[in-house]
Each structure stands twice: as structure tokens, then as C-alpha cells.
């Protein structure tokens, strides 16, 4: 946050790039899950809450209406850090805590604020934009903070109280000329994510999120080309794309089973009048670096198993594209023209009516191998996305889960949970595909390539390739 409070007018909450409902927020904190709900807090003490991570609404305002909060759950407390400027670079980071984030709970009561870090208006630092990090390797708690005027700084905190552990020790400078810093840990590395560029100018904001990494929590944090972040380095993690301008304020949302998302805001969602909005996107990893993934998009795909290379198809006899060619040299010369795509409306006339099985086979560009993925309005959602229906392209035939945890294709979509699908992009860019529910199952199930020619539903195993799928455009 380069500037103080913003008086933003949120745009309408129609289905757009980022989430659904009331998603207007600036400088969102890390999204935390509490009591089955998702919470995030923004500049001005604003908050958003969601039951499913897809549809959001305004939450209770914080007692401190300050800048760019961050929040973490440790033990039975939720510690929230936020900051305020009293001069251009004179600022304090304050901490408050509560045992519940739910205003309806008797445990919902924010503590009195405690200042945990400051900048005096002269030193090369601006003590705002706190980011809190619990080191999973040793349980130590760290706070980073800072905004453009000088350094991003690191201090150690007490995980028992949320307060500064060694208040008389000077902070450590770990980066420069950035803001919205926060640290995460992955596979032996500490990653420092910061936001570069300018905020608060709508579609003219140059915000972008950058990252460096270190083997030690104290740095040095170096980018992919060897530049230390203390000298302005930082590998681009995510910049503006499509109609979402100015991404900033990274926060990790770890859903378990190896499924990670990150929260952020866009300075301007062009489909929401250029308002600043929350988004949740998949977090991917490539060559030891975090990569911003994308939520599933409506379209027609071949659904290919990472394990077997075969694709999910309706179990019907395929017709070669362009018809069968036989006889001497029939396959070599071609037809001399462009062979059009198979028309599902025509081909499907020969398919049996009623429920049909699925199977898997080599992709041959045939109609029964192409699936259209469509978001379902009013069907609910999950962090970052609405549920989707999955139909054979050009038909109403709809993929569904059976009570025996198998797959079936029914003649038409009727909106039941067995026909709603969740698509989470995994760390390697592949997808986990899960029915919203499968009656009779003991827990969540995901599409699983148990054989080269057969898919089923099974419990997700992050260590296996069985439940990882590639969506390719046919």
C-alpha cells in the first residue's frame, strides 16, 4: 500500500474473472479457514467471508481500520497484523488476536492492539504491509514488513503470544523497493514473495508479484538469475493478464493433499468496472519455483490421464474421422481436402440411448472423446472456482458419479451433486477432477485412471499419477 485508505466503489458481482459474490477488497490478507469458512481481511479493516471459497460476502469490520492486514492461525488463536502510517514513512505494525473469526461465536473477541514493529520516519523502511510466516521446519514465527521506502525487514515473533520475540534486536533487511512481502516454505527452500509496481490506480496500476528464494529463513533471497532481492531482484511470479490488471499481495492457502492455492487481489478487474477484487488461483511448482496456475475455464477438452496417456471417452464404438478408408494404399494418400471435425450431432445418433459407461482410449479426435466443461450457475463452488458440468461436446450427455463410486454418462444434466465437478489444478499443472458428491462414498473421490482403458472414482492420492489429468484443447 503506497497510499492510505481508499474509498473504492465495488463493481457488480456478476460472474467474472475472479470469484463470485461480493469480492471487492484491497490488500487482502492470506485467506484462512476457520470453522469451515474462509476469511480474508483488507485495507480499511474490511473483511470477506465465504462458505465455499467461491461465493464471497462482506464480513465483520476489524477494530483496527488500517492497512493491508495479514492473519495466521496458531494453536487456539488467530493473530492478525496490520499497520498504519502516521507520516510518510513513520508507521507501526500492530497485532491483535481472537480465538474465533466467527462473530457469532462466544470466542469472537479481538484483543487490544500491541505494536510489534515500527519505522521512525527517518530510517530506510516503512513499517506497513506485514506478512506473517510460521516455519514448518522448526515452529519459529517470523514477520516481514515494509513498503518501497527502503527495505523489506524480518523480525522474529513469539508463536505463543504473537508478539515480537526480541524487540531490542534490530530487524534484518532482506529485500528492497517492494511491498506486500510474505514468506512460504517449500521443499527445502524459503521463498520471499513481494509485490513490485504501483498500486491504487485502477487499470493503470503496475502491480506484479515477484519471488526470490533462500536456503535460510534469514536470506539472502535470490531470484532465478542470481540477483539478490536486497538489490532489487525478484523473479516474476504473476503479472497482469487477460482482463485482470495489477496482481498483488500473495497469500498461501494450503488445502492439503498437495493442493495449494494462493490469494491475491487485482488492482482492476475490467469485468467489474475496474474494481479491486479478491481472487484465488492454483499454486504450481516448476523447477523449484512457484508458478501461478489458472482456474478451470469453460471450453472443450480432451481429458488425458497423466498416468496412461489415454483419454476419457464415452464407451461407444468410435467412427474414424472422415470415415473408414480401406483397400490398397487407402490410408496414405488422404482425401485431398480438409477433413472436417466429427459432428457429434450426427455421430451420436448411432450411440445407444440411456445411461452409458465411460472408458479410456487413445485420442483419435472422435466425438465421444471431447468433453465440454461448463461452469454451473448456482451450483456452488470451491476455492477459486464454481462447480462445472462435464458433457460430451455437442450433446447433453453428462458425466456423473454412481453410488458405487464408478462413472456413468447420463442422457442429460439435471444439476444433482453427482453431476457437478470440481477441477483443481495441481502443482505440476495437471488437474484433480472430483464430483461434488458421490452418494455412498465415505469421503471425497476423484477421477482415477485405474487402468489404461478404464477410469473410476477413488480417494485422491497426491503421490500417485492415477488421479492427475491433463486438459488439452482438441
Amino acid at each position: 500500500m503506497k497510499h492510505t485508505l481508499l474509498a473504492l466503489v465495488w463493481g457488480s458481482a456478476s460472474l467474472a474473472l475472479a470469484l463470485d459474490g461480493d469480492v471487492g477488497i484491497h490488500d487482502p490478507s492470506t485467506v484462512v479457514v476457520a470453522g469451515g469458512k474462509f476469511y480474508t481481511y483488507g485495507t480499511g479493516g474490511t473483511s470477506l467471508v465465504s462458505e465455499d471459497g467461491w461465493t464471497w460476502r462482506k464480513g465483520t469490520t476489524l477494530p483496527l481500520r488500517q492497512l493491508a492486514p495479514d492473519v495466521i492461525h496458531i494453536g487456539d488463536r488467530y493473530y492478525l497484523y496490520t499497520a498504519a502510517n502516521s507520516g510518510q514513512t513513520k508507521a507501526d505494525v500492530s497485532m491483535i488476536w481472537t480465538k474465533s473469526l466467527d462473530p457469532g461465536s462466544p470466542d469472537f473477541k479481538w484483543s487490544e492492539p500491541v505494536v510489534v514493529a515500527s519505522s521512525d520516519g527517518i530510517e530506510d523502511a516503512n513499517a506497513i504491509d506485514p506478512g506473517i510466516f510460521l516455519d514448518p521446519t522448526d515452529g519459529r514465527l517470523w514477520l516481514t514488513y515494509g513498503s518501497y521506502f527502503g527495505h523489506i525487514r524480518l523480525v522474529e515473533m513469539d508463536p505463543k503470544t504473537g508478539k515480537r520475540l526480541h524487540p531490542n534486536e534490530p530487524p534484518l533487511n532482506i529485500a528492497i523497493n517492494s511491498e506486500a512481502s510474505i514468506m512460504i516454505y517449500h521443499d527445502g527452500w524459503y521463498y520471499l514473495l513481494v509485490t513490485h509496481g504501483s498500486c491504487c490506480r485502477g487499470a493503470d496500476s503496475g502491480y506484479n508479484i515477484r519471488v526470490g528464494r533462500s536456503k535460510k529463513v534469514t536470506g539472502p533471497f535470490v531470484d532465478n538469475i542470481g540477483v539478490d532481492m536486497i538489490q532489487g531482484g525478484g523473479k516474476l511470479f504473476v503479472g497482469s493478464s487477460g482482463r485482470a490488471i495489477g496482481p498483488g499481495h500473495f497469500g498461501l492457502l494450503d488445502l492439503g493433499d498437495g493442493v495449494q492455492k494462493f490469494s491475491l487481489h487485482y488492482e482492476a478487474d475490467l469485468d467489474r468496472g475496474g474494481a479491486s477484487v479478491l481472487d484465488l488461483r492454483p499454486l504450481l511448482w516448476r523447477d523449484g519455483w512457484p508458478v501461478a496456475g489458472d482456474n478451470a475455464k469453460e471450453g472443450t477438452y480432451q481429458i488425458e490421464s497423466l498416468r496412461t496417456g489415454t483419454v476419457l471417452e464415452l464407451a461407444v464404438e468410435g467412427v474414424p474421422v472422415g470415415g473408414r478408408r480401406t483397400g490398397r494404399g487407402g490410408g496414405f494418400a488422404g482425401t485431398g481436402g480438409v477433413i472436417p471435425a466429427q459432428d457429434p450431432a450426427t455421430v451420436s445418433n448411432a450411440w445407444p440411448k440411456g445411461n452409458l459407461d465411460t472408458r479410456m482410449g487413445n485420442y483419435m479426435s472422435q466425438a465421444q472423446q471431447k468433453w465440454t466443461i461448463t461452469p454451473v450457475s448456482g451450483g456452488g463452488g470451491y476455492p477459486g472456482s464454481p462447480y462445472f458440468k462435464i458433457t460430451i461436446a455437442g450433446t447433453d450427455r453428462t458425466l456423473a458419479a454412481t453410488t458405487e463410486a464408478e462413472l456413468v454418462v447420463v442422457p442429460a444434466f439435471n444439476g444433482t451433486p453427482e453431476q457437478l465437478w470440481r477441477l483443481d489444478q495441481l502443482y505440476d499443472g495437471s488437474w484433480r477432477i472430483m464430483p461434488k458428491s458421490a452418494s455412498g462414498s465415505e469421503g471425497p473421490l476423484s477421477l482415477s485412471a485405474v487402468g489404461s482403458s478404464f477410469a473410476t472414482l477413488a480417494k485422491f492420492d497426491p503421490a500417485s499419477e492415477k488421479q492427475r489429468w491433463i486438459l488439452k484443447i482438441p
Binding site: A405, V450, F454
Partner: protein, 229 residues
């Protein structure tokens, strides 16, 4: 002139080879070759190894069959009396009449994970291409086993039944890949369970492999295989 002679000789050799191949294709192998991977069972029963593959089968001498598409293979397996006998278990050496031909069931143990039907047919001087093989085995479960799956691979198309219920159909010209076709979850009843399949080959090598996976997709090994229902 010398060149002409050499070319003529070469042409004659090619023609002769073609005649031998043609004869082989029409009447079976030029000569029966012992099936190096197959042997007659010498014990009453056997168990799968750690990989779970079922190595004892009854195999019927091949039936002429052309075509590997879903509809052609389904039509082929529904022909004759086999439709109503999919859970019946023949005896080793039993003869059956299939479309006017006397064919014999042979009990075999395979030394590999797969049953090499090319070896089987060639050893009997039978056709190996454009043929359908019926195979049967019996697995004895020590208890009722729920949520298991039959997992097979076949060269080429094949259809599989467990206790008379069709569980798997894979079609087209394909190689035998372990766990290619996998059934939905099924239940093995305590005692004998009959597994029957029809494997249809177009041309070239032909074989199949089969095992049963438990609810965690691990090979089932605590079953006994014999050829008695």
C-alpha cells in the same frame, strides 16, 4: 545376363517364400513349434505369484474371426452356444463343435505373466491370425472379497466375464498391456469364481494377461487357481 539370372533367382526365392507364407496363413503354421512358455499343469492347483497374474487357463483351439471393432467382436462372442455357457467350465481335452469344427480345450500353465496364444496356436499348427480364442479359469477365494477388480491386458480385443457377468470389453488392434482393461468393483464369492474371456486377434502376435486387484489396486495373491468349478 548374369544380372538377369541373379534377379530371376531372387524373384523365385521371393515367390517361394510368399507361397509358404500364404499357405501358412490359410492352413496354419508350416509346422507345429512347441510352445516354449506353456506347459501342461502338473499340479491340482496353483497360486498367483507376488504380481498376482493368473497363470493356469483352459484355452480352446482358435475359431476363425475377422474384425476388432466393438460391434464385430460383440457379435463374435455371442455366436454359438457360448452365450449361455459363459459360466460353465470345460474339461482339459474336452471337444466342442463350433460351427462344424471339432475344437479341443487345452489346460495350460504359463511360465510368464502372460499367456502367449500365438505360441499356443502355433504349437497345434493352428491359425494365429483372424482368430478368436476362448479361455477359462477358476479362482477360489478364501472368503468373500468385495471391491476387487479384474485387470487384464490382451492382444488384441477381448471381452471378459466373471461368474457369467460381462465385466470388461476392450476393442481394436492393441497390444497386451498390464492392467489395460479394468473392471468396475466386483465381489468374488467365497469358493470358486469362473473367469472367462474371448480374445480376438487380427494379425501377428496374440496374448493376454489377467490378475485381480484388491480395493487398494494391489494384486490379489491369496487366491487359489484350479480348473474345477
Amino acid at each position: 545376363m548374369r544380372t538377369f539370372k541373379r534377379e530371376t533367382s531372387f524373384l523365385l526365392i521371393v515367390l517361394a517364400a510368399a507361397v509358404v507364407l500364404l499357405a501358412s496363413a490359410v492352413t496354419g503354421g508350416a509346422a507345429a513349434v512347441p510352445a516354449s512358455t506353456l506347459s501342461q499343469p502338473k499340479t491340482e492347483e496353483t497360486k498367483p505369484g507376488p504380481d498376482g497374474f493368473i497363470r493356469r487357463w483352459l484355452v480352446l483351439e482358435p475359431i476363425p474371426a475377422t474384425g476388432l471393432t466393438d460391434s464385430i467382436v460383440q457379435a463374435a462372442v455371442k455366436k454359438g452356444s457360448f452365450v449361455t455357457e459363459v459360466s460353465a467350465v470345460p474339461r482339459d481335452g474336452e471337444n466342442v463343435n463350433v460351427e462344424g469344427a471339432q475344437l479341443t480345450w487345452h489346460a495350460v500353465d504359463t511360465s510368464n505373466y502372460n499367456v502367449n496364444l500365438f505360441h499356443f496356436a502355433r504349437s497345434l499348427d493352428k491359425n494365429t491370425s483372424n482368430v478368436l480364442f476362448w479361455v477359462v479359469t477358476v479362482v477360489h477365494a478364501p472368503r468373500e472379497m468385495r471391491d476387487v477388480r479384474l485387470a487384464i491386458g490382451s492382444n488384441a480385443a477381448s471381452v471378459w466375464w466373471v461368474n457369467g457377468q460381462e465385466e470388461i470389453g476392450i476393442y481394436g488392434d492393441r497390444q497386451a498391456v498390464i492392467d489395460d482393461g479394468v473392471s468396475k468393483r466386483l465381489t468374488l464369492k467365497k469358493g470358486p469364481n469362473v473367469i472367462r474371456a474371448a480374445v480376438v486377434n487380427g494379425g501377428g502376435a496374440t496374448d493376454f494377461c489377467a490378475r485381480i486387484l484388491d480395493a487398494s489396486d494391489k494384486p490379489l495373491t491369496d487366491i487359489v487357481v484350479n480348473l474345477r468349478p
